[in-house]
Symmetry: C2
Subunit: 383 residues, 2 copies
């Protein structure tokens, strides 16, 4: 396999973008990424999108977006792994360049969620329709069960869950593209509307529109462009049972553990080598479980870690979600995995502005689908 690099990035503001279509926002992010990379063409494109069919009545999204971006006749493919669609799109672009089939590939992600569909119902199609959704549960309920189990098993507290949201809003306030740029307090989280006990409104990532794109290229192309870039040190993906009830434990996400093992092996690294990480905090409990499963904290200690500030941007042992995470930056589901890669790229090239982490040489992005039935992890290194 050839060495692969990220050489450019583009992103829209995340939020309720009622004035623009799924095509508009994809093209905006993609064109920014192409301009940022300074390339005069792309060989192919991948787009991660969870459910454009149910959200806006448009499948065949690869072809649609290639057309509107004006890049026909290049190959254009949509990939889907629920909320991990963006991370998987990046992985496919990585594999295509690593194979030698292409030199420069655009990996994008997009979702338009606010155009009228019943969002909770659409997102529930990422769970097991026959055995979970049929019985009435949706994602807040699934993650609430994980939270309940984690609290019972390890003594994780309600305040610790809130601390995740507070930290991510603090980071998001520094991110010009974030949906929420307001800081919040533990008290505000604790008093927000109950959604699924113990998860309250401010424990949940929002419903968002948004698009994000990166340009992936061979190392040779990256070097010729004479600009800063980030090298892809690992790409790993794993699956787990679709339904929570099939799992041995509710408090460990096996797909995260397995993808992390593969990623560390491929990069020849260990958790302590990672300087900062973007994790899939669709709900506050997810960030706690994932930072444990990635090996940054002992199992059961993730809540304590965030409460003690060990994951803070300033002076944390490992800054987590410097972008604001899904919680504050927003979660247009297909775009989130690419937005994580963009945060890594910006941090590693020293362009993260007010949210720049110190000594950001190696970053990890962890993106997952459903209640963890799919997980994709990438490790990038500054060059």
């Amino acid at each position: 396999m050839r060495d692969v690099a990220v050489i450019g990035a583009g992103i829209t503001k995340f939020g309720e973008l009622w004035g623009t279509s799924i095509k508009d926002i994809f093209v905006e992010a993609a064109q920014k990424a192409i301009d940022d990379a300074g390339v005069d063409h792309i060989d192919s494109l991948y787009v991660g999108s969870m459910s454009p069919g149910l959200f806006v009545g448009q499948e065949h999204l690869g072809a649609v977006l290639a057309d509107y971006l004006g890049v026909n006749p290049i190959p254009a493919t949509r990939v889907e792994s629920a909320c991990a669609s963006g991370g998987v799109a990046f992985r496919q672009a990585f594999l295509e360049v690593a194979s030698g089939a292409s030199e420069i590939v655009l990996a994008g992600g997009v979702e338009k969620m606010t155009d009228g569909a019943d969002v909770t119902d659409v997102l529930a199609t990422a769970a097991d329709q026959e055995y979970e959704v049929y019985h009435g549960i949706t994602f807040p309920g699934l993650y609430a069960m994980i939270a309940q189990a984690h609290m019972k098993q390890f003594g994780t507290t309600r305040e610790q869950l809130a601390a995740v949201a507070v930290k991510n809003h603090r980071n998001g306030a520094k991110n010009p593209n974030a949906q929420f740029r307001s800081e919040i307090s533990v008290e505000q989280v604790m008093k927000s509307t109950m959604v699924a006990d113990p998860l309250r409104l401010l424990d949940c990532s929002p419903v968002s529109d948004g698009a994000a794109s990166v340009i992936v290229a061979s190392l040779e192309v990256a070097k010729k462009l004479s600009k800063s870039f980030a090298r892809v040190k690992a790409s790993a993906q794993a699956s787990d049972t679709i339904a929570l009830h099939s799992r041995e434990s509710l408090t460990t996400l096996k797909s995260v553990v397995r993808a992390a093992q593969s990623a560390y092996k491929m990069a020849e690294m260990k958790p302590s080598d990672i300087n900062f990480v973007e994790v899939h905090d669709c709900f506050t409990i997810a960030e706690i479980v994932v930072t444990e499963d990635l090996g940054f904290f002992e199992k059961g200690k993730g809540g304590e870690a965030v409460e003690k500030g060990l994951t803070a941007l300033e002076c944390g042992r490992i800054p987590v979600n410097t972008s604001g995470g899904l919680k504050a930056k927003g979660h247009p589901v297909g775009a989130s995995g690419i937005a994580q890669i963009i945060e890594l790229y910006e941090q590693l090239t020293g362009r993260a502005g007010a949210r720049q982490a110190k000594n950001a040489r190696i970053g990890m992005a962890q993106n997952m689908g459903g209640s963890g039935a799919s997980c994709v992890i990438h490790i990038l290194e500054a060059q």
Copy 2:
């Protein structure tokens, strides 16, 4: 890029499979393919499926199917390019093995179309929602316009369109997994119900359930298994404008022309090197246009060719759709591209039974999405 082979195949019967779920049929085809290949594991899986969200309310299909196939924690990814989803899944598996990231990858396709959704509406999400579907057109209408233009420009006749369906039903009658195993006459086609002038019911591929899987492996793995296999000589994909009204010509599918150019170049072959071909005959006119655009017949002569028997299984210059094609074999949209690869594999390994083509050493599969906004072409060679 490493050399890649197809080492096993499995397929369900295509048709109205009301007694089984999308998971059941995928697992049936996938398990048959694994057994046929004689491998004890797979490293990852891709599944092509156009719209499981709209058809059966289930997204996150890669993870769902990996779970039900019992292959967690391997990576499992759904890809979508409308009716080219299967061909694109095969291409992703090819790229992953070619890159060296994996040795043995399952490429599957599945669609469950008869479970209650409004099929024509769902399929229309493969066209441009804003500029085509909004104005009321669906796919029979789009292909009818192509047919009208072809008839006007080249004198293609109603009988020539019918000859495509007659030939494909004759081939399908020899395929035990085909949805329709009945021969039909030109007269029956000409008298069938009008759908969109000039296309009648028997010019249209049917609504189908079905699943298909192949096992893709490195050449080294293929050789170690000491069984017959087929080598992938080319994998090519191209895009075109999503809407018909944006094209210079209605009678040439540019994505087919461009993907074919790339495929011939990669394989270092020309049209006359291909011994047989599976093409995407979603409507009879599609087969005529595509056989021209692939270079087998001069532009405008595709209708005459089929009428003269040049594409017949027996004594044809180049047998087209020996499987029965989408028309007779059935068209569970996500599965069709993989089913084409299976026909190539069976022909190239001499296992096609009553529909075995003579001198089948090199075969081509052409799979497309929408009205040709995406096209993926593979060339396989017997070993």
